[in-house]
Symmetry: C2
């Protein structure tokens, strides 16, 4: 099995309430995922420019695509994820060049 | 000075020619940037699903925002970057949670 990288750019509006709502939801989801099989790490990035198209980008490493899919398909995670109402584009990636 | 992370999600179409054109341009740009002051690393990610909204995501680390801005403002880099015609959303980030 090869590890995979989940990258999720998230378009959170540039206002304090949206930021706090998003951060609270991210922490809940991260605390849940941290306990699932295959979780390796998760790192949340915030843009230096608050007006960037993607205010936040989450970069997480999982031991396998299968374990990631199992974790995010679970009902408990679905309830947490449904609260993330900002446009976001999660996908699994592999490193191709560095 | 605090290091910063450049994250650039790039919407490259799912066809072989677009992929090869993009990869050649990315390598040229990366080879140039690698030699600039403040460059630390660059990592190109490709989506497992070729139909993902962002087929590629570049994640690069720079020693400072100022050094990154200087590198990408230089005429030589501008010529390289102008060849990247796919929609892309580069921004500088800092880690806020992990």
């Amino acid at each position: 099995m090869e590890s995979v990288v989940l990258i999720n750019p998230i378009a959170v509006p540039d206002d304090d309430q949206a930021r706090e709502t998003f951060l609270a939801g991210w922490r809940n989801a991260a605390d849940h995922l941290r306990q699932q099989d295959g979780f390796i790490s998760t790192t949340l990035h915030a843009s230096l420019n608050p007006a960037a198209r993607f205010r936040f980008v989450n970069v997480a490493v999982w031991a396998s695509a299968e374990q990631f899919q199992r974790a995010v398909s679970a009902t408990e995670f679905q309830h947490l994820a449904n609260r993330l109402t900002y446009p976001n584009f999660p996908a699994l990636y592999q490193v191709v060049a560095d």
